[in-house]
Subunit: 445 residues, 2 copies
């Protein structure tokens, strides 16, 4: 884990937020490579779920929502931790982490437990009072539920169908940590999939398989991924059933978080990447009651009117990125030298190809390299680097996961070909210059 | 304007946030089509500025930042409106909107003017006090400045180079309105371009041209776009020069907003889409002073150490979307019938192609249509619609800007061809089924 954290900072994947001011606890910034990786991950998810399916529509709802939303969802009344403070060392703990009502760190006495709501508050308008109080959304899901009827009307979708959304959510976490695993500001990729009551468990099972397979497809090793169905007593108040897709992180996590699904963990490194829940008709029913708007679905074929059940595959983007980084990191021995490789899936790799001229003082070579880079840039993210020896340049690209390195050498001047090296096999192909783009695009298909 | 607002709601571009609860003032949700349009716009901007250039890196910083950031930027002390309340009707106004110190609505007396900070506050941690106070970023720019040194170190970029970022920002606006033009939650696309002092005005001019051309390239009509250099007295405290790229919106706007650039307007519909400012070394200097970290750049060639100047092209995504929607909207007469067309640039159009089977009861026709749709879905966003007559189906696609409609008819069964209709010319091509994908992909190149 330390290696990943250090690589992330050094190469510009992830920086601590506001680092020059000592950092802001549990918030993170994605640097140049991290921003690309995140973009690629979101794009892969959106393509798989919105573009390649015919039963899902996208949505992009605001972070600030009407406070009634959180009354309906139950977050105002029950999205809470029970906390106690140590009277000696003044640290604050969740009650379930106390050891026989003693501080787990110094053994001191603790205060009476208090309820603590996890939503971040803000005030809209000029006066700070109850009327202007609102919250930063603690989950993206509710933005979908309140728009359910709008989307049905505008898109003419028929049940079963889903609404997909990617966006930021915020939680005033007390116990944070493990790098980006649990942070106060995080990004979710969520689908609310609306189905006819009675077909819900079947769809729930389908989605568990579908989402598990997605992580495997994009490169997570099977042995590091598992499905963990929740026990009855773990289920959130709205859920009929729930399965976590867990990844075996190189750290130990503990502490279940309910009722949200963004942080339960079963220890031993196995921690939630995504939760798939059967939320029943809980949310729509609640919103219907509070808003007094009719949120029922009218089935034109059967002439029935009903509140649909909802299956929710809800993934964390930041922890997925952490999983993809961790899982793809490997160290190899090549000719007695250590080679660090980030074996990221081609679709996720931040840089698709690096152009490395062998002699940076030969104008003709530089010219070929730069013109190739300019051409490739129209189709993919490329990097041009001539600031070190070729061995070092390869190592730099390997450790950020660049699938292809292209070297321009003296021979290129006569044969008009370049060498394309594969990150994983390290095999080299000699490809003629006008063919390079097509050669690469084919690999990325 | 009313037509745009109504189209946006009806077809699922933009909904009022939390509408079932009466809405949350000045926040908006992007529906299925709006979410795609926004994705496409962001992608186009990112491609133009990050992928296709070799001198810009991306970044994705958090919304929550260390509060010292906003001390350094000047937002804590001077990001304010001066407001007064009407004693009769209790409404609140900016002082510059008062009429001879009387309420502009009811003519009543007003209170003494008060300063009102425009940043949204929140509290991190269990206690709400000065120590836990932080803000939702009012601009994305500062996330770039505090990471300047991190990005230089990780990316080895040499000046001149820029850092690009897309992300949400928040302002506690008092006067909001004009649909999505000014909202409390909005998204920015910003570049901070770092240059050597002395070359700053030259780069500033380049960026003004570059950004102006970008809007034209993606379809904004020249007569609706203009550059408006700021007068000396309009300049923000950090700016040496600034030019707004203004779009002629179909509404009248007034009220300059300083010192931020997200809302100045010169009346007559002409309003800011993007501001390009020469921010000098103001921000880096401020952060250097407050953090006591050395944020100077070391030029290896000249062995000089200096604080770079910054050129900032800062665009608003929501108001750009509004401009692209407004600008592309047209009504035509076709055979005595009104045709509403959203002539969006192909890269921006939410749906790239619609598959419309002429006879939905003929299984073979439906089969061809669905299989074509499934094939195209791997490469682009497509829609399959068979729920109305062909005339109506065309109209539906025209008004959401779909560049190509593909009809499957009885002849398709024998000649294995389909008809591809161009949105703008309404010309029809007969294309053989296995060629359709390539035919379309070529059009989108």
């Amino acid at each position: 884990m330390d290696k990943i954290v250090s690589l992330c900072k050094r190469r510009g994947f992830i920086f601590q937020s506001s680092e020059i001011y000592g950092g802001l606890a549990s918030t993170w910034d994605y640097g140049p490579l991290g921003a690309e990786l995140k973009r690629n991950l979101k794009e892969a998810w959106w393509r798989s779920n919105v573009y390649e399916r015919d039963d899902i529509e996208g949505l992009d709802a605001s972070i600030l929502m009407h406070p009634m939303t959180w009354m309906a969802s139950g977050h105002v009344t029950s999205f809470e931790d029970t906390l106690a403070d140590c009277k000696s060392c003044k640290k604050r703990f969740k009650v379930e982490h106390l050891v026989k009502n003693k501080c787990p760190e110094c053994g001191g006495d603790v205060t009476e437990p208090r309820q603590f709501n996890l939503m971040l508050k803000t005030y809209l308008g000029a006066v700070e009072n109850e009327a202007s109080l609102t919250y930063l959304r603690p989950e993206t899901a509710q933005g979908i539920f309140v728009n359910f009827q709008n989307v049905v009307n505008a898109s003419r979708k028929k049940i079963p169908f889903g609404i997909a959304q990617i966006g930021k959510a915020f939680r005033n976490e007390v116990t944070t940590g493990n790098f980006t695993f649990r942070s106060r500001e995080f990004e979710q990729m969520e689908i609310e999939f609306f189905v006819k009551p009675g077909t819900d468990e079947e769809w729930y099972k389908k989605w568990v398989e579908d989402r598990f397979d997605w992580y495997i497809k994009f490169g997570i090793k099977k042995e590091n991924l598992r499905k963990r169905p929740h026990e009855k007593h773990e289920l959130a108040h709205y859920a009929k059933s729930c399965t976590d897709i867990e990844y075996k992180f190189p750290f130990s996590t503990k502490g279940a978080r309910l009722p949200d699904g963004q942080g339960s963990a079963s220890g031993g490194g196995w921690s939630e990447l995504e939760g798939i829940a059967n939320r029943t008709d809980f949310d729509l029913k609640q919103h219907m009651n509070l808003s007094t708007k009719d949120l029922q679905y009218f089935d034109e074929e059967t002439r029935e009117r009903y509140i649909p059940y909802v299956i929710e595959p809800s993934g964390g983007i930041d922890r997925s990125i952490l999983a993809f980084l961790t899982d793809s990191y490997r160290e190899e021995k090549v000719k007695d030298e250590k080679r660090v490789v980030l074996g990221l899936h081609r679709k996720l790799a931040p840089i698709k190809a690096a152009i490395l001229p062998l002699l940076k003082n030969r104008d003709e070579i530089v010219k070929i390299g730069k013109s190739l880079a300019a051409d490739l840039r129209k189709s993919m993210r490329v990097m041009y680097d001539d600031t070190a020896s070729i061995g070092r340049l390869y190592r730099r690209q390997d450790e950020i996961g660049t699938p292809y390195c292209i070297t321009v050498d003296v021979e290129s001047l006569t044969d008009k070909k370049v060498t394309v090296r594969d990150r994983d096999s390290m095999k080299q192909d000699r490809v003629s210059l006008p063919q390079v783009k097509e050669y690469l695009l084919e690999k990325f298909e």
